[in-house]
Amino acid sequence: MIVADKKPIEEIIEYIKDKERILILGCNECVTVCEAGGKKEVGILASALRMYFVNQGQEKKIGEMTLERQCDHEYLDELREIIDDYDAVVSLACGVGVQFTAEQYHTMPVYPGVNTCFMGATERRGVWTERCQGCGQCVLAHTGGICPVSRCAKRLFNGPCGGATRGHCEINKELDCAWQLIIDRLKALGRMEDYETLIPLKDWSTDRAGGPRKVVREDVQE
């Protein structure tokens, strides 16, 4: 999933302080799972903002709504009937949802209510870690199923670097060395000989480096 984290409320207040009618818009997908932008977080943020503005002696309308997805035109259409009741939207979706909402409602200011962090997984409740950077050309078959692009601080394809200490990354003792994980996994798979295969220079043109990306699938188009 896409993992997001809460933005400080002061930052959100700064965006909307001059608006009178604000819609807090949640998303029922990834940000719900990572507890940053689902229905529950919409309610919490809306209450906190109401309280803040009441304390400031300001009467503002703070609406709440959570869509099934903000990255889908179909669900964003549900906003059409109520959007005119608002001066601004604070979207608690990932950056994709924020942008898709803004694209759909061209004259409506849409502010981000979370920081979009990475594609990752839930280690345990309250802890999420990165697993993928969407480089567009998956190498996991060659690296024992552990991604050096997203999990090595230097994204080394032929690691580990000399800074690895006791299985940890040189930048942070809390962080596993991706290449230690790769080696452990190759060992478990009985494929240690794979370690000595030199991985050649990567074609990064499918990555961010190649410019904004697009997937076109004619087989599923209507």
Partner: protein, 310 residues
Amino acid sequence: MSEKTPSRLEKVLRAGHLAVTSECGPPRGSDPAAIKEKAELIKDYVDAINITDNQTSMTRMCSLASCIHLKLMGLEPVLQMVTRDRNRIAIQSDILGAASFDIHNMLCLSGDHQSFGDCAQGQNVHDVDSMQLLQTVRFMRDEGKFLGGDEIKRPPKMFVGAAANPFADPFEIRVPRLAKKIAAGAEFIQTQCIYNLEKFEEWMKMAGERGLLDKVFILAGVTPMKSAGMAKYMKNRVPGMDVPDEVVKRLAAAPKEEQARVGIDMCVESIQRLKEVPGVKGFHVMAIEWEEKVPEIVERAGLYPRPDVG
């Protein structure tokens, strides 16, 4: 093995002499005097001088310009290049720039992570890694081509090296990793500072058993300790460093004003012992901000005068 480049370092090694290299860190400013003075101190005691590339990610004068200063003094630089700050365009371009000044040695590294330095908020590049950098230089030299396939007019003639850390974890892949660097094109290796001599000897033995020591020149890395405090710092704070307790203890046992002398003694003793290790073809003396001690170390270790290879 016949020489493949005009490198003086390569000549010394192929003639069977124990080579001596050292390194200078460029200044945090634009005054070339700093690098020239350091080089002047050590030039008669080494075969080549590495110039570090923004080591520990602290921004400094660039390695290439510093190498050019050495070259203009008639000295033999080893251009260190890290993959942290350059994509493959900049890498190839800098290699050609170095070659245009007849800089004939290069050390390929990934570089310390930028979070250690003064631009922790900056991006890193890592378009290629250190092994792929080795492959890139060798391809440019041996095929005479750019990575894109076009012909290079006057290809670079670099003697190509890599770093090896026999002490980093996991130990079991330290020899396979050396094999991989050799396969990628490394012709010489400068190792991490050696304090744990037993572990280094074990690594060399394993490398020998795999037949790697006939394929690459190993320069054993040594760094004199200035004090017990430095030893403790290196033991506890520097990633990938293996400083046994005995090293710290011996320094700490000496009075403070004697510790630097003990550090030099220990460094000389290490070289003496390492000379006996089969496969050690030379020494890389990294006297960090202590370049003035290099002549004494080299002389006391019996590595002076340096051979004249023409």
